[in-house]
């Protein structure tokens, strides 16, 4: 059970959070996006072994989405930051 440092609320236990998967950049405008690029945006993720960027939401707390870097091998939380903050 991870201990997740919410950028707004501080460390909280995993059951308070909702996992949002690996973030993907949305390709626009629709008319100029190839089927392959759109398919990759929808379904292809790197699924890194090791440090991995993930979206999480503090659904049972402040309700805010944030980015978390987590090591998928050790489960260590490397850092969290608000979306838009320097990556």
């Amino acid at each position: 059970m991870l201990l997740i440092p919410c950028p707004w609320c501080g460390p909280r236990s995993e059951p308070e959070f909702q996992f949002g998967g690996e973030p993907a950049t949305r390709p626009v405008p629709a008319a100029e996006v190839s089927d392959a690029a759109w398919g990759a945006y929808l379904y292809v993720r790197s699924n890194e072994k090791g440090p991995h960027r993930e979206l999480w939401c503090h659904a049972g707390g402040c309700g805010q989405w944030f980015l978390m870097e987590r090591d998928t091998v050790t489960h260590a939380v490397l850092r969290t930051h608000k979306p838009g903050a320097a990556a």
Partner: protein
Amino acid sequence: MRRLPDGSRIARAAPVAFTWEGRPMQGLAGDTLASALLANGVRVVGRSFKYHRPRGIFGAWAEEPNAILDLSWQDRAGIARHDPNARATMVELLPGMAARGVNGWPSVERDVYGLIDLAHRFLPAGFYYKTFMAPDWHRYEPGIRRMAGLGRLHDSADPLRYETRHAHCDVLVVGGGPAGIAAARAAAASGLRVMLVDDRAAWGGSLLWQGGTIDDRPATEWVADSIAGLAEATLLPRTTVFGWYDHNALGLLERRTAAAAGWAEDRLWHVRARQVVLATGAIERPLVFPDNDRPGVMSAAAVLQYLREYAVLAGERVLVATNNDTAYDTVLALCAAGAAVTVADARTDPGPAARRAAEAGARIRAGSVVAGVGGRRGIRWAEVAPLASLSTRERLPADLVAVSGGWSPAVHLFSQSGGKLRWDEAEAAFLPATPRPGQHLAGALAGAASLAACLAGGHRAGLAAARALDRHVDLAPPRAPDTPAPAPIQALWHLPLRGTRQWIDFQNDVTVKDVALAAAENYASVEHLKRYTTLGMATDQGKTSNVNGLAALAAFTGREIPQVGTTTFRPPFVPVSLGAMAGLRHSALHTPIRHLPAHAEHLADGAEMREYGVWLRPACYPRAGETVAQAIQREAAAVRTQAGLFDGSSLGKIEVHGPDAAAFLNLIYYNEVATLKPGRIRYCLLLRETGTVLDDGVVARIAPDRYLLSPSSSHTGAVLAMLELWHQTEYPSLRVAFHDVTAAWATLAVSGPRSRDILRRLHTGIDLSDAALAHMSLAHGTIEDLPGRIARVSFTGERSYEISVPAGYGAALWQHLLTLGRDDGITPYGIESLSVLRAEKGYILIGTDSDGMTLPDDLGMSGPLRAKKVDFVGKRSLLTPDATRPDRRQFVGLLPADPGFVPAVGTHAVVQEGGARRSIGWITTSAHSPALGRSIALGMIERGRALADAGAEVELFHLGQASRAVVTAPCFHDPAGEKLHG
């Protein structure tokens, strides 16, 4: 076996009556069920899992593989309790306990299935996999399950309530023996919040039976003083730390059955600790020799515990077999208690401990092992042989064989935390390699072999935990007298005796031969061995068998033990009941069900209440003598001809505010919402980014910068989460905010041709004329002097008004509208009646008519894709080859050829292709329509719109029955929509 007249901390003045297999027996307060059974001379306590061999008590605590009993009793609160798989060694004896064996019939002592053992030659590892394959395992399973297995659950519900507790601490110390107490003292002296946990009722761990001297006084006094000094700490006796999860989250099971006060219910603790000290001790290994599973073969350490703690002498003529020094504590204690003791020590030079034992009267056979035992329901003799010459045997009379094959540190929690093990050749044991971050190891777990080392290591661990949290401690470490180093252990695994049966895993009946067979069949990986033979997979999790099993596998595959490695240690360390895991989250509290504001009124009106998602809502309102089906038809007809009253309070209400509300919602919704004028309402779809329909509902614009969304009752949470996700991650610069106001408003719908007449009797400032309040518009104002709004939207296809008032007035408004509409025949209608009405109109129900693959065009809504310029959610997905395939399933109506036949939901429409049926879609909604007086259906059918245009007939097929239906447009009633407006 008998109880000695004096000694131990057992309460001799407090007899406790209990029964074993129906026979009355007496124990003493402070006994475990196991010690009481031994004191009453009970040898056979169970039958083995597979071969039904008689089994006796082997251990004294959590490691016990055999003494799993069916236990009934009444707890302090007077509740009848039942544990179908109680581990007798861990049960504190209570008055009136009734214990029975679990795997024998008619009893564990005279078990007819014991004949199975005669056929053991035909039951090797993998036997079931190989034998019971054809035609189907399930044919054999019930019979096999009846013969093999543990206790049986009672059919009744568990009468207990369990507690769940969440706790945080600075330092969690696992283990209340000398090392753990020393660590807790040191950590607590720094002022940190400390939790000290031990699974026994009494503090002290091995000191309880080993005794000793600490700081120049009896160890028990040091324990009592140290515990008294931990007044600020959280002390949890009778509590097992069963699991280590990520980031120092630990699971604890507190057994409160025998606790002196408070609830009798067990507690599950979720503890988050900043630092953890593990002082979990070690578990003695059995020796592996022919017939070593016989009742009367016991762990030497367990024999010592029964003697010292409970004054139970487990045998009078004892053979102690060992390969290490620790068993000599048992030898000395047995000699002092008057038993005749022979020691078979595998080591040719056993050292000073053996000499002291000889002085105490024990006969020492150096370089010897126990090569066999006899006596079916209890040991009668044992054979001793030189290790170098196993065929040279001497038979000795014996009623107890106490064995020690060395010690395995209890690395379970350490390993669960991700710690790696190293094989220590000198100690013949797996030890923790290095502690994990935030973790400190002490005592026998860390390889400490003496009391002095345990105390020193525990103190160091406590200091280190405090230092890691920037605390410094000034406390003298506890000291015990130095003891001479023990003579080294001599690793001793199974004996090379062909044609014998030597047990490794007692609980799952796995022998050396099974391991040999697995190795011969190339199950050489330890994880494969485990699953093929079930070694270590019983409820004792292989506490006594793991290392012996690995050693056997190493021998049979020509490898060393560290090359074989260990299986993965997983929680729980001891079985945890499902009730304890659930805590209070069951029955009514499992998923709290929401009630409507007018809940009591619905009940009073005779509603048939059902659960719809998280809401309890009226399905319909059957009158006396009326069936549910009849009520639905009556209510639906009333709405078409007069008027109905529906409680729509559960419908979602999300307010969207902000100067960019229109721009944002236009990026989210499939339909155009930015052009919607204030006071107007539009029916809209919400898509996922994959283009599939997530929800539908109406969007009302209240003001230029304010919208009110009405998602489906069960989708409101998901829709709100989606709005937040898109706003926060994709469009954070847009100035908009969301607020779920579902619970703030009661919303009642009056629907039917007479609805406006009824509303005109309502005291309201809102203009109800069609010019002011047309279909798909809303107005705010006062309703019976309450702030509220009236929206003209319809889910029935009739003229409808949705009246919203503050939720607290919902019940009053319900009664008021029934009164106002009485003369117009106003009829309360429920969800099931609404479902018939919306089916007649072909209004879709998302999740019923649609599924996770449905696109808006499949539902006949393709306009917005062509008209809308912005990149709304899911737009690009609607342009893919799959989305534009011509043969997609489309939403249509179906009129069964037999108007009296209502085809079941899930019925397929089929075509004949190449001599076989192929499904071209299915029915999603069906009903008997009171408006049409016949059956109707809705469905998703391949190229359905073309079929409808052609008026084609299709074949329906369901559960072997064929029928036919005509495909139509998905609307059976008032297709022009005249009733909505006029």
